[in-house]
């Protein structure tokens, strides 16, 4: 098994469903930051059998709202001076901006180049969001 040294500062995104790690890496734009980022795939896990994990050694604030859309079961640990100092549980974001696209074939956003479409959470259980333009309901489905 590959060993990755203990994080001194930054963020650990744990309990990622195996296979979702790279999608989270992309959606958080981790390729664009200069800090050390480690993506571990398919680590053996007692609870999940297999899981993905991301460690980011950074002082930057990273917008985690997208994580709730991709995998609401992940755990986010914030580390300072080598110690865990904050742990957060995810909830679905109330507003999502620029991540989702509208699936209504009659929506104007399918025809015009519209950047950053806002979606408003309407049904937490079904993970449904409402398009700011056409009001149609849609869900976020991650790319495989």
């Amino acid at each position: 098994m590959i060993n990755v040294s203990k994080l001194k500062k930054g963020i650990i995104i744990d309990h990622i469903e195996a296979g979702h790690g790279f999608e989270i890496y992309k959606q958080l734009h981790l390729n664009d930051i200069d800090d050390v980022v480690v993506l571990l795939k398919k680590i053996p896990s007692k609870k999940m059998k297999q899981k993905d994990l991301i460690k980011i050694e950074t002082d930057l604030q990273i917008d985690m709202t997208v994580l709730g859309l991709i995998d609401p079961n992940v755990t986010i640990n914030f580390v300072k001076n080598g110690e865990l100092f904050k742990k957060i549980n995810l909830t679905l974001p109330k507003v999502v901006n620029g991540i989702m696209t509208c699936k209504n074939p009659r929506c104007i956003t399918q025809y015009e180049d519209v950047k950053e479409i806002k979606f408003y959470l309407v049904n937490e259980e079904k993970k449904q969001y409402r398009c700011e333009y056409c009001d149609a309901y849609t869900t976020f489905i991650e790319e495989e």
């Binding site: 009659r106 929506c107 104007i108 025809y111 015009e112 056409c134 009001d135």
Partner: protein, 308 residues
């Protein structure tokens, strides 16, 4: 204050703001001459990306009767759209020339999108696909006010194409903000009211049925709508559903003596011509109120509501 605001969907305005438009419409109906110059020197851009007779004529008649003038198109092939211009660029350009713009477009959400490109020019949504048609809602509210004395305390039957009927979506959402409104949604199963509208209503305030005959006697208002050929992908499906409901004299016998029949027009077969002579049929008066309420709306958005 409504000056400078957009009207994309009825929810953009508070009920007291809608009421102020109704009051101004009442004043205009009482004294049209008094308002015949309030828009002198103002220009309305009339941008119709899909065919319309009633809505376009009523907006243009409204602006002309307020003393203003009109530029625009009713066929996008005669504009720069045919050269591939984006909606954003079209609106930015039109804002250089016009004081207010009315837009109809076949794609849902278009009016909201173009309103983001207009800095000072109010945008009025004159229908965006099957989504919203807020000025028809204002027309309907003024009609209900005139014939039923107000918009509270009614049982409202909505019949026909509830899936694609944008006038219906706008009306239902708005009427649900009034006191003690109950809805009866009457449609074929294939054309039921969509979830995004039903989810906004208290489930205690509506019921759904496929039978007009069973419920017509309980209604204070019957709002008929056309099954719209242009919203169907399959012609066969359209032909199967287009004559699902036909309101005729026989059905009207079961209705209350003071029930009113409304329709956004144009109608096809859903109201038999024999119903036109029934005093409860108010759809042509409704069309006339549409012009007055649009006069009031234009005057409000331009901030020129004082008589000249």
């Amino acid at each position: 204050m409504l000056k400078g605001r957009h009207l994309i969907e009825p929810g953009d305005f508070q009920l007291n703001e809608i009421e102020s438009i109704m009051q101004l419409a009442d004043n205009i109906i009482a004294d049209p001459e008094g308002y015949s110059l309030v828009c002198r020197g103002k220009l309305l851009a009339s941008l119709f990306y899909e065919p319309s007779t009633r809505t376009r004529f009523s907006f243009e008649a409204a602006m002309l009767r307020l003393g203003g003038e009109i530029i625009g198109f009713d066929d996008p092939n005669n504009s720069s759209v045919s050269k591939g211009e984006s909606l954003g660029d079209t609106i930015r350009t039109i804002e250089c020339y016009s004081d207010i713009a009315v837009i109809r477009h076949p794609r849902e959400g278009t009016a909201r999108l173009v309103s983001k490109f207009a800095n000072e020019m109010p945008i009025i949504n004159a229908g965006d696909g099957g989504h919203e048609h807020p000025t028809q809602t204002l027309t309907d509210l003024l009609t209900i006010r005139k014939f039923k004395g107000g918009c509270d305390n009614h049982v409202v039957g909505v019949c026909g194409d509830l899936l694609f009927g944008r006038t219906i979506h706008s009306l239902v959402k708005t009427l649900s903000r009034y006191q003690a409104i109950r809805f009866v949604f009457i449609s074929p199963t294939e054309l039921k009211m969509p979830a995004h509208i039903l989810n906004q209503l208290d489930p205690q305030t509506y019921k759904e049925t496929t039978s007009l005959d069973e419920v017509i006697g309980s209604l204070d208002i019957l709002y008929m709508s056309r099954v719209q050929r242009e919203r169907f992908i399959s012609e066969e499906e359209y032909l199967r559903l287009k004559n699902y409901y036909i309101l005729d004299k026989k059905k009207m016998k079961a209705a209350k003596p003071d029930m009113i029949v409304m329709h956004p027009l144009p109608r096809v077969n859903e109201i038999a011509p024999e119903v036109d002579e029934d005093p409860r049929a108010v759809y042509f008066a409704q069309a006339k109120y549409g012009m007055y309420v649009r006069m009031a709306l234009i005057a409000k958005l331009l901030g020129v509501e004082e008589k000249k």
